[in-house]
């Protein structure tokens, strides 16, 4: 249907919804019986409207969306309710009918741009087969046009490249091009930008908005980010444990959430929280009182525990036949970290922030410059001294699934650093592990369990307990909360803040998420392409960003433009 048709419909008949989901239930057959992933979902999307489903992982939001395009995994089926596309119930439609509908009536933009393009076919081919399958003109010109419309520069040449020659943002543009290539009436966008940097995310979502508005496409947006949903969608549907718990116009729902779960979501969404601090400050409330319990005691000695001076890291890029070129991943970076405070290093992927963390941890050697820890240059540390240094500086990494040994139970995981550093007897070590579990608010009964039995948030708590085992002074958190759902993320951030208060810890927090920074950091260092572009106290950087790049990062926080009262609920 073109937008002209819609206008005629509007004029003559009451507008019918594009998609209507009624009392939807979805059941999965698993090894241990049937599991109801979706119990009761209902939503309505009118022509040209954008509706967002918000919820944490496991809430059934993606499953609902997949059912709408008939792509449930083999062991899943619609066990109740209806999915009406333009009035036609497609919940049990035969595969033949679904093949007709997919692409031309319902398009999809999937979540992960890295894995959703077939690595062995050229981008152009993957666009062309979509056009061909849906009976559209599929010449090279048409392919280039479709790609160009999705904002891919130099589309004709790009069409001849393979996915691995594209960046994440470009791949996502190609996927958007594919999803919209046949002008479907409904586009399902499943976390379309959650794998991308904030600034890229913003550009791509803006472009998607423009395209769908021009084409009059209705959008079903799946996201875990309430701020993003509220900014992009007309209506928000909140799902929790397979049920739709609340639905309504975005701003209304955000300002006045009814269901307790929605209220918790609104409270912990980092993007909204930042906004709230902003509003509160304008009304004269100190931000420290609101959220960040990290403001250090006046009495505490504020010496510089870490001094980074003119740090540089150069990698050699091989260019065949012994030739190589230099690539400066970190270029002349200097900053100090005060004891007992949190310093955040912010930047997009490739900005060099993780390389700084690796060098501070002595996992990479700096090419030039100094890292001074407690007045000692770490470059000279060897053998025993380096071993001692490692005890005082501990890491927490991003992926709680990858950073715990699956063959070690929790006790062994937390005890290992104590054993390696030969601290205490077996009995005193066990006591210490119990204390640590208490500190990270996990039951002591968890000691005998294995990482695969725990949730992401629990695993990250284990990683924190392990980092704390050696009573370190500095903890380097490399994207430590990026892989977690918002609610879990808020809990872990609170835990880190409490631990800092109680133990006087110093955090170096590496993240791409400015919203999280606002919640936890005292100081911010903004990095771009290896260089430190701006540094200052968190309030300064957020309120008066000096650099255009920092401003761009701040603008890209989803939900930043929303007006909210300082304390919701």
């Amino acid at each position: 249907m073109t937008s002209a048709d819609i206008r005629i419909d509007e004029a003559t008949a009451p507008v019918k919804p594009i998609l209507e989901i009624r009392d939807l239930a979805i059941t999965f057959k698993t090894g241990s019986g049937e599991v109801k992933a979706v119990k009761n979902a209902h939503l309505t999307i009118m022509p040209g409207e954008t509706v967002a489903i918000v919820g944490e992982s496991g809430s059934g939001k993606s499953t609902t969306a997949l059912a709408a395009i008939g792509l449930l995994p083999n062991n899943g089926r619609v066990s109740g309710g209806q999915i009406l596309l333009d009035g036609e119930d497609i919940s049990h439609a035969p595969e033949k009918r679904m093949i007709e509908l997919r692409g031309s009536h319902i398009g999809m933009v999937p979540q992960d741009p890295m894995s959703n393009l077939n690595p062995v076919w050229k981008i152009g081919y993957q666009v062309r087969e979509t056009l061909k399958a849906n009976g559209r003109p599929d010449g090279p010109k048409d392919v280039a046009r479709v790609l160009a419309e999705a904002g891919l520069p130099d589309a004709e040449r790009r069409a001849k490249q393979y996915p691995h020659e594209f960046s994440g943002g470009m791949r996502q543009r190609a996927l958007i091009a594919i999803g919209l290539s046949c002008q479907p009436k409904l586009l399902i966008a499943d976390e379309p930008t959650s794998a991308l940097d904030v600034t890229v995310q913003r550009r791509i979502l803006d472009h998607l908005d423009t395209m769908t508005t021009e084409l009059g496409t209705s959008v079903l947006l799946i996201t875990h980010d309430l701020g993003l949903a509220a900014e992009r969608a007309d209506k928000v549907v909140v799902m929790y444990q397979g049920n739709v718990v609340e639905a309504g116009p975005s701003l209304e729902l955000l300002r006045n959430p009814q269901h307790p779960y929605t209220r918790r979501l609104v409270e912990s969404a980092p993007s909204l929280a930042s906004r709230r601090i902003q509003v509160a400050k304008e009304q004269g409330v100190a931000s420290g009182d609101l959220l960040a319990p990290v403001a250090a005691d006046e009495s505490r000695v504020q010496d510089d525990v870490l001094q980074i001076k003119n740090l540089r890291k150069v990698y050699k890029l091989r260019q065949g036949l012994g030739k190589s070129s230099d690539f400066a991943a970190v270029d002349d970076v200097s900053f100090n970290v005060k004891r007992g405070t949190t310093t955040a290093i912010v930047g997009e992927s490739g900005s060099g922030k993780s390389t700084v963390a690796k060098m501070v941890l002595q996992l990479e050697k700096p090419t030039e410059g100094q890292i001074i820890f407690d007045d000692v240059d770490t470059a000279g540390l060897k053998g025993k001294e380096l071993f001692k240094f490692r005890r005082r500086v501990q890491p927490i990494f991003q992926d709680p699934y990858g950073s715990l040994d699956p063959m070690y139970n929790i006790f062994r995981t937390i005890e290992e650093p104590l054993r390696v550093h030969k601290i205490g007897s077996a009995a005193s070590r066990e006591k210490k592990v119990r204390e640590l579990l208490d500190q990270v608010a996990l039951p002591q009964s968890m000691m005998q369990r294995y990482p695969n039995e725990l949730s992401g948030g629990q695993r990250q708590r284990i990683a924190i307990a392990r980092a704390l085992a050696l009573d370190p002074e500095v903890i380097i958190c490399d994207e430590a909360v990026s892989a977690l759902d918002v609610l879990v993320q808020a809990q872990v951030l609170n835990l880190l803040a409490d631990l800092q208060d109680n133990l006087g810890l110093t955090y170096l927090f590496i993240t791409h998420d400015l919203a999280v920074v606002r919640q936890i950091a005292d100081h911010v260092c903004v990095m771009e392409k290896g260089k430190l572009v701006e540094t200052g106290s968190t309030d300064d950087v957020f309120d008066n960003p000096r650099e255009a790049y920092t401003q761009a990062l701040l603008d890209a926080i989803p939900g930043g433009s929303l007006l909210l009262p300082p304390a919701v609920a």
């Binding site: 077939n118 690595p119 062995v120 076919w121 393979y162």
Partner: protein
């Protein structure tokens, strides 16, 4: 790309020298006197023995023997075997037969292995899949000489569908039954490998995206599941072709096929150094070239692999 191929071909030189030297030395170190063995129970006059020794350079030290061998190879003179037949002639007769057998076996295992593997992979856990898995396990477990004799008896003798032995006039039709026996074991491996990669790729995100584009099921399978799944299978098949060209001593023995395997077996029994090394030299070339072809095919199937760096 041309540069890569050239570099790979240059690598043939050290590989060739190394393998021939090793094989030559092993033959040299074999216990027993090949000339004495030639005469069996009879005791030939010393003058005859000396003449024969001189003819085959057996009276020379090892390095001289190997040097003469290399010189002959590069002048395309492979010499004569102990029955005074030119070795080049017997190789020229044996290799085409083995090549036919190997290609037939390869086609059989590729076509049936991939076809059954894809069907089993797409219907994992269903009846067809389970049946095929059990049958392939049986095929892997039963030794070739048992399979060979059973096939020979059933299809060759009792049913009379094929000639039980091949003999001197080997052609594509005659070689079909032995090719089946030869291809059967690898067929089972190809099937299992294909099945595993297909069922893994079926759940790939890009396959779901392809379906979401509105592609028909056959198109999704052909363009997005099959091509990606073939990458490891092609590697396996390529490595296997080298092995098949080496001649199947057991299969060629059962069906009396005058191929490389047979020739090599006879030469080893007689300690015929020149014949053994000649055959092995050709095999080394075959191996290196098939491996190169597989690598090039691999790069064609998977564009992420680039050799010209």
């Amino acid at each position: 790309m041309v540069r890569y191929i050239l570099r790979r071909l240059l690598q043939v030189i050290p590989v060739f020298l190394g393998t021939t030297l090793l094989v030559y030395y092993m033959v040299f170190a074999l216990p027993g006197d090949p000339i004495a063995a030639l005469f069996g129970e009879r005791q030939p006059p010393q003058s005859v023995i000396d003449t024969l020794r001189a003819q085959y350079n057996l009276d020379q030290p090892f390095w001289v023997q190997y040097g003469i061998f290399l010189k002959n190879i590069f002048t395309f003179n492979l010499g004569v075997d102990f029955t005074q037949q030119p070795i080049a002639d017997s190789l020229a007769r044996a290799f085409p037969v083995t090549a036919m057998l190997a290609i037939e076996a390869l086609i059989i295992q590729a076509v049936f292995g991939i076809a059954f593997g894809v069907f089993a992979g797409l219907r994992r856990g269903k009846l067809f899949d389970s049946t095929v898995l059990i049958v392939s396990l049986v095929v892997i477990a039963v030794p070739t000489f048992v399979l060979g004799f059973v096939f020979q008896l059933v299809f060759g003798v009792q049913l009379g569908w094929a000639k039980p032995t091949v003999g001197a006039n080997a052609d594509w039709g005659n070689l079909l039954l032995p090719a089946f026996v030869l291809g059967l074991v690898s067929f089972a491996y190809v099937l299992r490998l294909t099945r595993a990669t297909v069922s893994e790729n079926m759940n790939a995100d890009y396959v779901r995206t392809a379906t979401a584009k509105g592609l028909s099921r056959p198109r999704v399978i052909m363009a997005h599941i099959l091509r990606n799944s073939l990458i490891p299978v092609v590697t396996y098949l390529g490595a296997n072709l080298g092995g098949l060209m080496g001649g199947a001593i057991v299969t060629e023995g059962i069906f009396n096929i005058p191929g490389v395997g047979n020739k090599l077996f006879q030469a080893i029994q007689r300690s015929e150094g020149p014949t053994i090394v000649a055959i092995v030299s050709v095999l080394v070339l075959v191996f290196v070239i098939t491996n190169l072809l597989v690598d090039l095919l691999y790069a064609w199937l998977d564009p992420r692999i680039r050799y010209d760096q």
